[in-house]
């Protein structure tokens, strides 16, 4: 009798709790919308024109695209912000850095001193290397290229807070 009471009780509780916990856990992995399989978009987005960039003056540009958040798809959203650096004459000198601070994700500003994060005073060099402050690593590079005078980047986000640079999927 005691066994029956225990087993039946536990089974009844489990039948309720397991699916409930599972659904909460599943949403943590942010499943993709079935109509938007991976690879349905190559990810390159135009953010500026090459001639807008001047050597030595980083340009802040917003990455605009469709943002998918759970069931919402919003066209023309700012997916993120990048700093574009031009090193010299040719387009091969283009570099793009994510403006998201690797520390805790505030947006990095540019001042005469170089790149700075206003939140906890992380300083970065003119090329994005971490100099001072709590940022655990240098600014995260973003893939960039020039096509027909258009500067294109492939936006990506990285895990915050660690010395290691880990790309966040989805």
């Amino acid at each position: 009798m005691k066994v029956v009471a225990g087993v039946a009780g536990a089974a009844a509780a489990g039948a309720v709790v397991v699916p409930a916990v599972a659904v909460v856990g599943a949403a943590a992995n942010a499943p993709r919308l079935p109509g938007r399989p991976p690879g349905s978009d190559d990810g390159w987005r135009t953010v500026a024109r090459w001639e807008q960039l001047a050597v030595g003056t980083p340009l802040q540009a917003h990455v605009i695209g469709a943002e998918v958040d759970a069931w919402n798809v919003s066209p023309d959203r700012r997916l993120g912000t990048v700093w574009l650096l031009r090193g010299g004459e040719g387009p091969e000198t283009l570099r793009a850095l994510s403006a998201v601070c690797p520390h805790l994700g505030c947006l990095i500003d540019h001042t005469e001193r170089g790149f700075v994060c206003p939140c906890h005073n992380s300083d970065f060099s003119a090329r994005g290397a971490a100099l001072r402050g709590p940022s655990p690593r240098s600014m995260d590079p973003i893939e960039a290229r020039v096509r027909d005078g258009r500067v294109e980047v492939r936006w990506a986000r990285f895990r915050l807070g660690g010395a290691e640079r880990i790309r966040e999927e989805g």
Binding site: A28, A30, T46, R49, S74, P118, G133, G149, L160, G161
Partner: protein, 583 residues
């Protein structure tokens, strides 16, 4: 038999309620009632107040990224009493945290955590943690800038916890990024799970207090004193006082509502006062040493508090002072850190970004009054008709064209006044002026002025003005327009495309832009979409094409904005000198 006692025995027989109530208030308060023991009651009152106001707000609030801010704004601004209820909920939370600190101080000083109350002390600490968690999960629910950014930082701290951090973070946030699931999860935690745990915890806490009796002052006062009515009266007055203070603060200041959360903005995120010491601590521990600030120091402090009943066992004053000194130091340290953080807020850069943020918030609340589109409040702010067109213009056109207050570039003509008579006149009079075509490679208009008398210039400018004129604006002078048209069709169409006399050149050789719709929306649009079209500047064009760089809505905004520039003063270009200065 008097009727009250009849009722009493009637109820007693059926429910046992009266005697249960009697037992409920029969708590030992050795030493008699004291004001210093009212914290528990005030805290309970405030927790109840949070539950009531929270439930009231749930009837309005909608936890979605596109509706959270909007529904909060509606509650705050449109619904009568909404501001008060939200304010009470907001300041209630602050008051609870403040009272918790006082309660803890009282417990420590009164030795109220010692045997047999150790477990209740631990439970109390856990409840304190739960309250902070409730505050943390409630903060971003309005999905405004401050809530969003402060939460992102807090979640970042959780993520930096070794080993478990990342999974915990994903579980809380609902994926890798802040978004819809963050809101639904925080909402569930804030309105359901945390209150449920708090309710059970507080019940157990109070039950244990009743079991042990309130900690008394040994040897002083009446050792047999009961809670009812002396302490009860004090508790009630204290509860009333806390509620009154909270309500007053709510009326006076109301809960803040910033601009809608914008992940792509720079927001000067300042945590609430009770998280400030922690956030200030972060600044001192860069990089991999961050765990010291986020985990080790707060963890050590919590452990010390938890072990207090076993550490603090002496009755000697001096021994106690020694044992408790780390707590005093920690308290002073927290205050110092908090002050240090507030001092940092006076920096000019910070003040500036704060002011900008306040302005955006003000604009957002203003725009919302006409209703918020279904895409959400962020889109509403982004498309603010007072800001967005100028931003777009500065971003796309300002890289070459000068416009006062937006851009200083001079790779193309200044567009202040573009479309006006004055601008047209300036252009005819001195097209190669550095504010006009001077810095471009197109100089074919040079010297054309000489073919016209002054009235001719006026007439052509008037005709040009009439091309983009819209009803409601200063009406063109019909006679001048007619005269101007005649001159233009005879003289200018040698180069300019469109109807007119082409006797001097072959029609096919004409390569200057067609000005028949000059300054109109259609003209601006065509020029933006394809400036290199034959109709416009053809092969000599240097202006970029915007056909693939803006969506229709943005394009329309820029066109409208450019057209609106005609009301601004045109570049002050006087007559071209006989010998134009070589650039």
């Amino acid at each position: 038999m008097t009727s009250p006692s009849r009722w009493r025995s009637f109820l007693e027989e059926r429910t046992g309620l009266p005697s249960a109530l009697g037992r409920a208030v029969d708590v030992a308060v050795p030493g008699g009632p004291r004001w210093r023991r009212v914290f528990g009651a005030s805290l309970s009152a405030l927790l109840l107040l949070e539950a009531v106001t929270g439930a009231a707000m749930m009837t309005v609030y909608s936890p979605s990224t596109t509706a959270a801010w909007s529904s909060t704004w509606y509650l705050e601004t449109v619904l009568p009493w909404g501001r008060l209820v939200r304010g009470i909920h907001h300041f209630g939370m602050h008051a609870i945290v403040a009272l918790l600190v006082l309660h803890l101080v009282q417990v420590v000083l009164d030795r109220a955590s010692r045997k047999p109350r150790e477990l209740n002390h631990l439970l109390g600490l856990a409840l304190g943690g739960l309250v902070l968690f409730a505050a943390m999960t409630g903060f971003p629910l309005a999905w405004d800038q401050r809530g969003y950014w402060v939460s992102r930082i807090e979640i970042g701290i959780i993520g930096s916890v070794p080993v478990l951090g990342t999974s915990l973070q994903r579980l809380l946030v609902g994926g890798a990024h802040f978004g819809q699931f963050t809101l639904t999860r925080f909402h569930t935690l804030h309105v359901w799970l945390v209150p449920l745990l708090l309710l059970l915890g507080v019940r157990a806490h109070i039950a244990m207090v009743r079991r042990h009796g309130l900690k008394g002052d040994a040897g002083r006062g009446d050792p047999q004193a009961r809670w009812w009515p002396g302490q009860a009266a004090r508790d009630a007055v204290a509860a009333l006082l806390s509620v009154a203070v909270v309500t007053w603060m709510a009326r006076r200041w109301g809960a803040p509502l910033d601009a809608p959360a914008d992940p792509a903005s720079h927001f000067p995120a300042v945590p609430t006062w009770f998280f400030s010491p922690l956030s200030q601590l972060l600044r001192y521990f860069p990089g991999p040493r961050q765990v010291i600030g986020t985990m080790i120091i707060p963890g050590a402090l919590t452990t010390f508090l938890a072990l207090l009943p076993w550490i603090d066992r002496s009755e000697s004053r001096w021994r106690r002072a020694l044992v408790l000194s780390p707590l005093l130091l920690a308290g002073l340290g927290a205050v110092a850190l908090g002050v240090q953080q507030r001092r940092g807020l006076a920096k000019p850069a910070f003040v500036r970004s704060l002011r900008e943020a306040q302005h955006t918030a003000w604009r957002a609340r203003r725009l919302a009054r006409a209703g918020i589109p279904p895409e959400g409040p962020l889109e509403m702010v982004r498309n603010d008709p007072a800001v967005r067109p100028g931003e777009l213009f500065a971003q796309h056109c300002g890289t070459c064209h000068a416009v006062r207050g937006l851009s200083q570039q001079r790779k193309g003509p200044r567009l202040d006044g573009f479309g006006s008579r004055e601008w047209a006149t300036a252009f005819v009079v001195w097209p190669d002026h550095p504010e006009l075509m001077g810095t471009t490679e197109i100089h074919d208009m040079s010297g054309q002025r000489r073919r016209l008398r002054d009235e001719g210039v006026r007439a052509v400018a008037e005709w040009l003005y009439s091309r983009g004129y819209e009803p409601g604006e200063s009406a063109p002078d019909a006679a001048l327009v007619a005269a101007g048209e005649t001159i233009y069709r005879r003289r200018c169409t040698t180069c300019h495309q469109g109807e007119g006399d082409t006797s001097e050149t072959e029609a096919a050789d004409r390569d200057a832009p067609n000005l028949d719709a000059w300054g109109s929306r259609a003209y601006i649009r065509a020029q933006m979409l394809n400036p290199g079209a034959r109709e416009n500047y053809g092969e000599r064009n240097h202006m970029p094409r915007f056909h693939d760089r803006m969506n229709e809505r943005d394009l329309t905004m820029v066109v409208d904005f450019t057209r609106s520039l005609r009301t601004r003063p045109a570049p002050a270009v006087m007559e071209q000198p006989a010998e134009p200065p070589t650039p």
